[in-house]
């Protein structure tokens, strides 16, 4: 794809452990509410959310609802994503009065999450919105702070953090690359 020298920051095991910890934290913060809705941001966030839901089911014995959200049309910088097709969003039974955890792979400027929160409003008034990310790479441009973080990875702007998820990429890894 680009002429970058990749460096693995998180291995498959690291990712598994981070997700297990986040799952426990989500349960702790939400007192194992069975109304809990995990909303994955397309594309990789959806797979992270599904795995968190599977973990929660294993730990607590109930399976939280997993929704999907494509906040593309709510972005303030559509140029970033205009080359990609928009994907259907689906949150079964909506979010009215329920605690919601937005799940994404990488947190960077915060603009996707701002757009996701606005897009989420169309699905009802959540009792609370929290944010879980696998990697927080810094460089926030908006006052957004994640509630659950897999790993803080300080980066330079010219670097790229690529999250590889088995369901899409064939294997699990978090890799550091460079802009060409």
């Amino acid at each position: 794809m680009t002429n970058e020298i990749d460096r693995v920051l998180l291995s498959q095991d690291d990712i598994r452990r981070a997700m297990t910890r986040i799952s426990h934290e989500i349960l702790e913060q939400n007192r194992a509410s069975s109304d809990l809705v995990l909303v994955g941001v397309h594309t990789r966030g959806v797979h992270v959310a599904r795995r968190l839901a599977a973990n929660i089911e294993r730990i607590e014995g109930f399976s939280p609802v997993v929704g999907t959200l494509d906040p593309r049309l709510w972005r303030d910088d559509p140029d970033v994503a205009s080359g990609q097709p928009s994907l259907p969003s689906d949150i079964p039974n909506g979010v009215d009065g329920k605690p919601v955890v937005i799940v994404d792979d990488v947190l960077y400027t915060g603009r996707t999450i701002r757009a996701a929160m606005e897009a989420l409003l169309d699905f009802g008034r959540a009792s609370r919105i929290q944010l879980a990310v696998l990697v927080d790479r810094g460089h926030r441009e908006l006052p957004i702070r994640p509630d659950f973080i897999g790993k803080n990875i300080p980066t330079a702007r010219g670097e790229r953090v690529l999250v590889r998820i088995a369901e899409i990429d064939g294997d699990d890894a978090v890799v550091l690359g460079y802009e060409d």
């Binding site: 709510w74 970033v80 205009s82 928009s86 994404d104 990488v106």
Partner: protein, 361 residues
Amino acid sequence: MTNPMTTHGSGAGIELAHEIAAEEVETMLVPRQHLLDLDDLSVADITDLLDSAEGMLEIASRDNHKTPALRGKTIITMFFENSTRTRVSFEQAGKILGADVINVTASASSVSKGESLLNTVKTLQAMSIDALVVRHPHSGAPYFITNHTDASVVNAGDGTHAHPTQSLLDLFTVRNHVGDLVGKKVAIVGDVLYSRVARSDIIAFQKMGAEVVVSCPNTLLPDEWQWDSTLGSETGFAGLRLAANVDEAVDSADVVMALRIQQERQDSGHLPSLREYSDRWGINSKRMELANDGALLMHPGPMNEGVEIASDVAHGFQSVVEEQVRNGVAVRMAVLYTLCAPGKSARIGGGDASNGEETKS
């Protein structure tokens, strides 16, 4: 992955793509601004638009379907021919995306006072618009307009030339039912000579790998085409099969599309009578039985029930006519969004959006 609208020269519509490539090499680098025809879009471009329409369909079907995507943009629909579904569908698509949509019709504008197309476009251009959706009785009118405006021009049907968004919604509708179009048989029945829908659909379905068979009265075929033959590349429709009769066309088809027969055709002597047309070329339940199980019946509308399509099948279990209309909004949202959303810019740290890896956040 390529952006469907950025890989080609601007406004290639009427001329062949390779001529453009030879003559206007520089414009190949300019982002595409217009959608005039499907003949210069690649399979990947079309697939991207259809994929995008999936997400748009979900948004359009929400209780609250307003988005801020094109907030602050102005879209003008300029219809020089009557239309219900196409005009309303573009208007609805623009409004769901948050744009301001203004409708101009020939009868209610200065066009009825004799203003020329050129002056009308210049007038609208002076009011800072972002997109012009044009329907015009003359083939090539949207292409002409691209030379006189900075706005994106979307062809909403021009003469007998093209109706690209209709074909995109037809592809989208079929894809949602049968998946991959490769090897599927599509029968198009009716006024092939005058129909811009037929022309665009033949191009679209062939491009996506389907086998297209047409059937129509000989008087409505272009002169050099003959029944019961397969066209060569010199016609521009290589591989298009002209069936000997409707039954042959419909036989084991996965998609049957009836085209509207226009009253004017009968008046001009192309048809002996509507009743004879209905007998020989009308789609009815008996003919639909020849098609494959699960075959779809389509019609671009408006339908003349009892002429080209029998009422029972038009509203029967195989009919996807209303679905076509619903999908029309989604497909037009995808087109307007792709054309009007701010162009891609080199945003530092933005990542490479096209491979979807790490742009978010």
